[in-house]
């Protein structure tokens, strides 16, 4: 009896701590995410600048975030199926930007090209860079990850890091190690229209116009097609999927292809949007997109898009208000905060890795 009553006492105290912990894990991250925009909105209001400046930043943030969302989809798809952080994904995206830029030259796209030619040319660029990134991604999986499928989990991650460096150096060989600018084909900073004083640029429209159909198609592909069903089955239980007659290796290759296609699309949008490229942009973009994927809940497509948009907004606010040089630190601080408060992400379920 005595033992039972002694044992019964601690759970009460622990339960109170648990409530606090649950509150923190539910709302802590959201509060941290909202803190930055709210802070600068208040500062703006106090200085009598109104809501327009912050809304401007949010519009740019959403279009910027659309690019991160496309890259984040690649991380999330791959993680969902083989629980591996495809570290080389960002650098694959960088290769895509270089392919797109090379195609400008091949197709003769310049600032003087007429609108019809431009749209046609850019469509070709989009398709080619998507295929290039997709193919690279499948190749990396074949060479660096498939031989290690039975090895300890550290091994494929290390080869992923190795491949990230290989791709970066391919980039250096291709266009040198300094930044270079590409022609601003779509006049990205031209204000297309304004809504209540908030400016919307060409680039914003482009990013959203490419991202929404692609995400829609990807969702359709995964939910409606046979191979999409195979992907979901493999993600759930590879062994059972194999027993049901699914070719697991092919399915995994397909997943890498899908991720690569999204990164390829993002790379053209990025080249048109930023108009400055270099071999290291992929590494940075990859880390930002990975943060987005984790923020949404890795393995979750909707989460990746949501995370991309949020990170895009935070990044714009940080770029313009705190200073662009501190943005990486801000983004990574958020990454650490996510890991502390809510490793499963905003809309994700608990995974084995981040329980």
């Amino acid at each position: 009896m005595e033992a039972a009553s002694v044992a019964a006492a601690p759970p009460v105290a622990r339960r109170r701590g648990d409530t606090l912990r649950r509150l923190i894990s539910t709302y802590g991250l959201i509060i941290a995410l909202v803190a930055l925009p709210v802070l600068y909105t208040i500062i703006d209001l106090v200085h009598g600048r109104g809501l327009v400046p912050i809304a401007d930043l949010l519009v740019q943030g959403i279009s910027n975030g659309a690019i991160w969302a496309l890259i984040a989809l690649g991380y999330t798809l791959v993680y969902g199926i083989i629980e591996l952080i495809n570290f080389a994904h960002g650098d694959n995206f960088m290769i895509g930007t270089f392919v797109a830029f090379t195609l400008y030259g091949t197709l003769g796209l310049t600032l003087a090209t007429g609108p019809l030619g431009l749209i046609g040319g850019l469509l070709v660029c989009l398709i080619v860079s998507m295929i290039a990134c997709g193919a690279t991604n499948v190749m990396i999986e074949r060479v660096a990850y498939r031989p290690l499928r039975n090895a300890p989990k550290l091994a494929p991650l290390i080869t992923a890091v190795g491949f990230s460096f290989i791709l970066q150096n391919v980039g250096i060989l291709w266009f040198g190690s300094s930044q270079f600018s590409v022609p601003d084909l779509i006049h990205s900073q031209h204000v297309l229209f304004t809504v209540a004083g908030v400016r919307v640029h060409n680039s914003d429209v482009l990013a959203v116009a490419v991202t929404i159909p692609l995400v829609f198609l990807l969702t359709l592909f995964i939910t409606r097609t046979r191979i999409g069903k195979a992907m979901r089955a493999t993600a759930q239980d590879p062994e059972a999927a194999r027993l049901m007659g699914i070719n697991v290796d092919t399915t995994i290759s397909f997943t890498f292809l899908m991720g690569g296609l999204m990164a390829g699309a993002a790379s053209l949008v990025y080249a048109l949007y930023q108009t400055t490229l270099w071999y290291f942009s992929g590494f940075q973009a990859g880390l930002i997109a990975f943060t987005a994927a984790v923020m949404g809940g890795i393995g979750n497509l909707k989460g990746a898009v949501l995370g991309g948009l949020i990170i895009g907004c935070l990044q714009q606010i940080s770029d313009n208000r705190i200073g662009a040089q501190w943005t990486p630190a801000v983004v990574f601080a958020y990454l650490v905060l996510i890991m502390v408060f809510r490793p499963q992400g905003l809309v994700g379920e608990e995974t084995r890795e981040a329980g």
Binding site: P152, G162, I172, E239, V294, W326, L335, M339
Partner: protein
């Protein structure tokens, strides 16, 4: 022979190998030009050995993939930058603050501490930083740890880069960014000839040998201790280790702290060897450089790490520049030295695919790697 006796023999063997190898290494400078290029590279190779052995504790023993190891290099170096230069020239009303230094630095403004004290500071600082970096990763496993440590490494790089924007007051900056904190004091120790990076590199070399000896001792003793066995247990199976009574939090944090401390020690040494603390050195690539060393040698294998570190640092300084003729002969126009990290990346992939246990594998690690390969359940097991 009983198992215990065999184990004792093995240990004695390690001791003999260490004494002979380090003894021969210590004699090396007598046959060499004291300011030569080889001497310079050899000193750096010794410092990298210390770094690799430190990272080996975190990645090799405890199985926590740390991609932000450059953070400890940065903190170790800045310990020297802050405490052995005229960077904080206004301290103590411009008269400077001196502790156990003699000779020229004792006459300068700024903070000047004895190098041995700085090493202690760097070790303590990096142990604390290591613990702080480790804290958020405690609930995580595997690849998430890699990303969080990478994020910390990048945050610290950003602060090092733009630290000249952070002012405590007008005279006290955090770092000097890419302008570098320079010059920092030459090391002055009573029992070795005067350290001077311009005229005589031998004292640096000998100091490096002593450091390597110390770190080897720490590594071997730790590996065979209760703590070392706990690290290896966590690496092999965290859940099983935990249910056998291994305290996960304490054990993991100790791995981060120990690994970090050794990194800081080497960082302080490299910092004062370069005589300038430049934020450009603290890039992500450095973490991968060190990681490649221990992968090359064999994760978890102490002698492997030594061999890997020496091999890779000489590949970096000799083999890659030597390869520079090849593109010319093939009619291509590029510089191999700019591609050194691509080559390290290639090496990492190659090692992992062809010989994941490294050049000088640890027996236990090899067993882990080959276990379950080829069985039907392998994929499921690898994921669970």
């Amino acid at each position: 022979m009983s198992r215990l006796a065999r184990l004792r023999d093995l240990r004695r063997g390690n001791l003999v190998v260490a004494v002979v190898a380090l003894g021969l290494t210590a004699l090396l400078p007598f046959g060499l030009d004291p300011t030569g290029n080889f001497m310079n590279n050899a000193v750096l190779a010794l410092a990298y050995v210390v770094m690799a052995l430190g990272l080996n504790i975190v990645v090799g023993f405890a199985g926590l993939l740390d991609l932000g190891y450059v953070a400890f290099y940065a903190f170790g170096s800045y310990a020297v930058g802050w405490l052995a230069s005229d960077f904080y020239a206004r301290v103590n009303g411009g008269k400077g603050f001196h502790l156990l230094v003699n000779g020229f630095p004792a006459t300068l403004a700024g903070i000047h501490l004895n190098f041995l004290l700085i090493i202690v500071v760097a070790v303590v600082l990096c142990a604390v930083v290591g613990t702080l970096i480790g804290l958020p990763t405690l609930r995580l496993r595997g690849d998430y740890i890699a990303i969080v440590t990478l994020a910390f490494g990048e945050i610290i790089r950003v602060f090092a880069f733009f630290g000249d924007d952070i002012k405590f007051s007008n005279d006290y900056l955090l770092t000097n960014g890419r302008q570098a904190i320079s010059p920092v004091d030459d090391i002055t120790l009573g029992f070795l000839p005067q350290f001077d990076s311009a005229t005589n590199l031998r004292p640096y070399f000998w100091f490096g040998v002593v450091m390597v000896a110390f770190v080897l001792f720490v590594n071997f003793r730790l590996r065979d201790s209760r703590l070392g066995r706990a690290w290896i247990a966590i690496r092999e199976d965290e859940v099983a280790a935990s249910s056998m009574g291994v305290p996960l939090v304490k054990t993991k944090l100790l791995a981060y702290a120990t690994g970090g401390a050794l990194g800081g020690m080497s960082g302080a040494f490299i910092g004062s060897y370069y005589t300038s603390i430049n934020a450009n050195n603290f890039q992500f690539g450095f973490s991968i450089f060190i990681l490649a060393m221990i992968i090359l040698g064999g994760l978890g294998s102490i002698w492997g790490c030594v061999v890997g570190a020496v091999a890779l640092s000489f590949i970096n300084t000799y083999l890659i520049p030597a390869l520079n003729d090849i593109p010319d002969k093939l009619g291509l126009n590029f510089d191999f030295t700019t591609l050194s990290f691509g080559i390290f990346g290639f090496l990492i992939v190659l090692m992992m695919v062809l010989r994941p246990e490294g050049l000088m594998p640890e027996r236990r690690r090899r067993l882990e790697l080959t276990e379950g390969v080829g069985s039907d359940e392998a994929l499921v097991e690898a994921r669970a």
